[in-house]
Symmetry: C2
Subunit: 475 residues, 2 copies
Amino acid sequence: MQKGTDFLYLQLADKIAQLIEKGVYAVGDRLPSVRELRQEHGVSISTALQVYAQLEKKGWITARERSGYFVQPNPRQRAQLPAVTAPAAAPVAVKVNEQVRRIREGRRQKGLVALDAATPAAALMPQHKLHKAMLHAIRRHSASCVPYHDVSGYEPLQRLIAQRSLTWKDAVTAADVTITNGCLEAVSLCLRAVARPGDTIAIESPTFFGLLMTIESLGMKALEIATDPVTGICLDKLENAFRKKKAAACLLVSNYNNPLGSCMPPAHKQALAQLLQRYQVPLVEDDAFGDLHHGPDRPDNIKTYDSEGLVLLCSSFSKSLAPGYRLGWAIAGRYRHKVEQLKFMTSIHTSLMPQLAIHSYLEHQRLDLHLKQLRHALALQTQQMANAIQQYFPAHTRITRPEGSFNLWVELGPHTDAWELYRLAMEQRIAIMPGTLFSSQPRYRNCLRISAGLPFNEDMAWAVQTVGRLAKRMN
Amino acid sequence: MQKGTDFLYLQLADKIAQLIEKGVYAVGDRLPSVRELRQEHGVSISTALQVYAQLEKKGWITARERSGYFVQPNPRQRAQLPAVTAPAAAPVAVKVNEQVRRIREGRRQKGLVALDAATPAAALMPQHKLHKAMLHAIRRHSASCVPYHDVSGYEPLQRLIAQRSLTWKDAVTAADVTITNGCLEAVSLCLRAVARPGDTIAIESPTFFGLLMTIESLGMKALEIATDPVTGICLDKLENAFRKKKAAACLLVSNYNNPLGSCMPPAHKQALAQLLQRYQVPLVEDDAFGDLHHGPDRPDNIKTYDSEGLVLLCSSFSKSLAPGYRLGWAIAGRYRHKVEQLKFMTSIHTSLMPQLAIHSYLEHQRLDLHLKQLRHALALQTQQMANAIQQYFPAHTRITRPEGSFNLWVELGPHTDAWELYRLAMEQRIAIMPGTLFSSQPRYRNCLRISAGLPFNEDMAWAVQTVGRLAKRMN
């Protein structure tokens, strides 16, 4: 313990940490507000703020936007983070298709307990308000939906999306936005705009299998780059690949990478934007999860620092509003015309109906309020899931601590075969996602992605407990 | 003239032909009905039917489903058909992208007179009934639109589409139908399912540039096959390519090929199905125009005769109901799972909203009545456009006589440069489509596609006259 009144805030922080350790405050509980702390302990506002800043720094609590401070699992006993990944440094042809087919086949069964729900529960989406928005749009504009429409999208919606770029190095206009059938189509079009079959794409390791499948289906190769579970892709390794002209382009999820949950710090993003410019390598930046930050502030994008149009930003409303609408977009910088051309020859244009509905929602409803609720729910669910995994999985299990979205990357003992665990879990009607799906290389055999898109309930707790028991038996 | 009363019908037919030649009946006029003919001339019903059959055979008139008999342009003076095409017999990389970009750029101008409208006018679509269907669907099912949905589509809609296969050699079920973002996405997915970058696709010559662009964007090569403007692709030439293993797959528009308007006779379709089986070559059959037959009967498909699942049938509601809904489908036979997988990794699934709306329309409205009206309008517009071209274009101009859809292929004198004509026409704010867009080879420089999707009015007549005058000057 520190000494002297100068360190009052440290004394107070330590006292609260002890209360947490003794279980007076349980994981997930809200601590007294700053105002309450001030009143209870007769300290100044600034000291109270210092107390919480210290506790946060030490990992005891987490701040949630406008909600207060919440107890985290004991940092002294918390599961270790997975190590920085170390994929082989050679481009390879991707072959995850067959694995994905197997997963989708299994997923057809009814009544599974989903520890793999990589999309927020429908109940977390503003279904009623979307319904109203849809009716409003259809009543006013249904005739516009009938004829062919402009390839790039519904202009008022493009404009609303472009408005997000206000703080970017190069702000974009409506015409820079191409509306697509979801983020995956946007990524696919952008990849085709910057690379050809046979070309190599630098990616994070592990990477979402949907992105791997896209690379696979385009006949491109993947070059996996070492990735830190907290700060994302290792820039020195990536620069090395650029220097050796190993990659025609990059494809990254800079915010809350799926499955790692890593989020590149602003300085990394800025540095990467500079690397892209130095080596003239285009980057497809998938930002599907950027709106799902658990903390108060939205992370920025690599695109934010892009002054040469080398970053093709892709995102969608699939994780924030309505997955089933299949609405995404690409802001493709200097590749905009090429992306539009590819969009035209792939699907002419995106159906107008969902565009009108989303536009009407954004015009008449408060997206920010919805997102706030959604983020709180996802942060809570993710924390609950992480806690359960820590409680029930083998002691050596490593777990990521994402600061956004709802995916957890779980590293089991080196001899655990996640596909065998998958098979045993499916016998218990529990769905999990084996780690090998997330690599073009024979990697992550002992890893799982566990997703917390659904509310954490007793079934979930039972499922985590069951999978943990199965994993323990396999060691 | 024939002699004797046995040939009464021939005498009567000849008399009517003379009346047409003298202008008593003008092009497009309806002739007396069979009943009226019987009464006026005191002949039997069967003789009256023979009269019209004879006139139709000789090209004087055309029968339109439930509407009667209509006067055609004088067959003795009618423009010649273009010859069977004769493309080079080597696979080539496709490069039409730049031309299409130029056309799309020009098309951005407002106030053009469109001789290139390759989609039926919005007013020909059942906009009000679609609006009702949409509202009905949204009121009942809007919540279903929010979460992710099944990759293959909305099952009740898949079922309605599958019902069209009742008369096929192998009837299909709902599960065989994959709903896509329009026909072009279906074609793109199917091509990717049967061929890889670098592979060669056998196609008709000329072929719709959208299909060429798809081949181009997938890094495949095109092998153009000689095509007859009436009966479609030349089967002996195609078999030759199969025998020499020149093509990994075929891609054909068997009904009313865009731009030629050719329609393969049933015997050709059956023979081609057998060829596919003999050589085990898959065929992507684009049937986007099949519902737009001008005569009473819908043509069948090559898929109709496919008993081995080698034909991947693609179609859409874009030409028959609502282009802007972007709704199509693939019935991919033995490649179904592969197409579904590709669909999943391209756009996850098709937006549910337009699927619900079309399903509700098909459930509650009479598609057959709408199609009948649409077909009559398109048949009339196409005839009017053809007549105007014949009247105003240079005398040696060759014009196709499609029996469905609304595209005309116009062959000008051998020294006419259609791109120069395009440029001159654009100066007059008239949009036409140069022939080189429809080939992977440097062909059809003196050809145009003129499309009659819009009602034929005075502006159109002026535009045809103007382009005709420009073409005459270029000779």
